[in-house]
């Protein structure tokens, strides 16, 4: 039997982690408790963060938006600040699992689980998000890209928890896009996914572009060559086909039960082509 602790404040979290450095920390439990059930994890004690008030909520800090790690995904999805500033994140969360799972699962949990297929990760990469890590002694901030070390591996030391993700407002990207290919629409792990934010002029010349792929490598894959290849070009099928070739050779997918590596490689390119059909609008100026 495991002890289950439900601290209500951060100050109550630290002694629990000190007493049992191997305690399993969870928020929604949608990942960890499924693992406990299948006996992949046998924790002596469980620390559930779902009631820690300081970890919840979305705050507009002017230049950036602070999202508490313990904020349920469904609440991030319907938050007006997120809807206005980060449509790419909204699109990703909308296809993440199901409403019941999103009521339980948190944005911090999706990050710390560090699945190659984690749906919030490609959008948070293109948005150049940072994470805030806290312990009893200090608060530190790091880029999301440096925080995620590999499949299921994050840069969290003993006694540390993920407290927040901070996303800079990125004005002017007038195309926000996330698409995942899965075995079915909902409740499906991505076979491949791509997040994109693009800034195009009125005559569809690409001024800035950021892309990130999920499920085609051990962590999110970012390909700077693709971004360079499209800069200053018209957002057309011709431009995107060239970019797709670069993307296909840059990703490093694996064969698994969901798809073959070669299919995933083709998808990584094909997902880019969708951008051709999208109309630009300016999310930060919508009312």
């Amino acid at each position: 039997m495991s002890d289950v602790h439900l601290p209500r404040h951060l100050k109550d979290v630290w002694p629990l982690l000190l007493n049992d450095p191997r305690a399993a920390v969870y928020a929604g439990g949608t990942d960890l408790l499924a693992k406990v059930r299948s006996a992949d994890a046998r924790p002596r004690s469980l620390v559930c963060l779902e009631r820690v008030e300081e970890l919840k909520g979305v705050r507009d800090d002017g230049e950036e938006v602070y999202i508490g790690a313990g904020t349920a995904l469904e609440h991030v999805l319907h938050n007006p600040i997120i809807e206005k500033q980060f449509p790419v994140l909204v699109q990703a969360i909308r296809v993440l699992a199901s409403p019941a799972v999103r009521h339980m699962g948190t944005i911090g949990g999706n990050i710390v689980t560090a699945s190659p297929a984690g749906d919030t990760l490609p959008p948070l990469h293109v948005l150049d998000a940072d994470v805030v890590v806290r312990s009893a002694k200090e608060t530190r901030r790091a880029s999301l890209a440096s925080f995620i070390r590999g499949p299921g591996k994050v840069d969290l030391g003993s006694g540390e928890i993920l407290a927040a993700v901070v996303v800079k407002k990125t004005a002017g990207f007038n195309i926000h896009h996330y698409e995942k290919v899965g075995k079915r629409k909902a409740q499906a792990c991505a076979v491949a996914s791509m997040a994109a934010i693009v800034d195009v002029s009125e005559d569809r010349v690409i001024r800035r572009a950021r892309f990130a792929w999920g499920s085609v490598g051990p962590t999110v894959i970012v390909v700077p060559e693709v971004e360079r290849a499209v800069l200053g070009r018209t957002l057309s099928m011709e431009t995107l086909r060239e970019a797709a070739c670069i993307a296909e050779s840059a990703v490093s997918p694996i064969d698994d039960l969901r798809a073959s590596a070669s299919y995933r490689r083709r998808l990584a390119g094909a997902l880019l082509l969708r951008l051709c059909a999208l109309q630009a609008n300016n999310p930060s100026q919508e009312h």
Partner: protein
């Protein structure tokens, strides 16, 4: 551990192991077998319950997490002896075949109608994405939620 919560409108005190899964607590300890378990991993929605009005999966919650919460299972959906409007719509539209997914579907639909009393058919489909039904093909379930929405919002009697 001792847990106090409200279950289907009644305040209760429980003495259970903190790490007992909520679905086991409901079905085996309390005899509320309306809540079903199928996958035990969050994929099927059969064990859906409402916690403080929001749909959650009782197979992925531990008893300790119920402290102070309001829980609704399918047994508590209808007030008094009558059937809940969503239940009536499911029966009338033929949205129940084997019935195993039905409690989860009813609670997922109730959660939707709390948030959005006039959903589109697309929104209904999104709301039950986490609830698998292997009998009906979903069409009649969507019809039933649509009907329930019209009844709840007073657009139809």
């Amino acid at each position: 551990m001792k847990i106090s919560c409200t279950l289907n409108g009644t305040r209760i005190e429980l003495s259970v192991p903190a790490d007992r899964r909520v679905v086991d607590l409901l079905r085996e300890d309390l005899g509320l077998t309306g809540t079903k378990e199928s996958c035990g991993a969050g994929d099927c929605g059969a064990c859906t319950i409402l916690v403080d009005g929001e749909s959650r999966l009782s197979c992925l919650m531990l008893a300790a997490q119920l402290e102070g919460r309001e829980i609704t299972t399918v047994e508590g959906l209808a007030e008094s002896e009558s059937v809940h409007v969503v239940q009536r719509a499911f029966a009338e539209q033929g949205a129940v075949q084997c019935g195993f997914c039905t409690p989860g579907m009813l609670l997922a639909a109730t959660d939707l109608l709390h948030r959005n009393p006039r959903p589109s058919r697309g929104q209904i489909r999104e709301a039950v994405t986490g609830n698998l039904c292997r009998c009906t093909g979903y069409q009649k379930i969507v019809d039933a939620v649509d009907k329930a929405a019209r009844l709840v919002s007073g657009d139809e009697s």
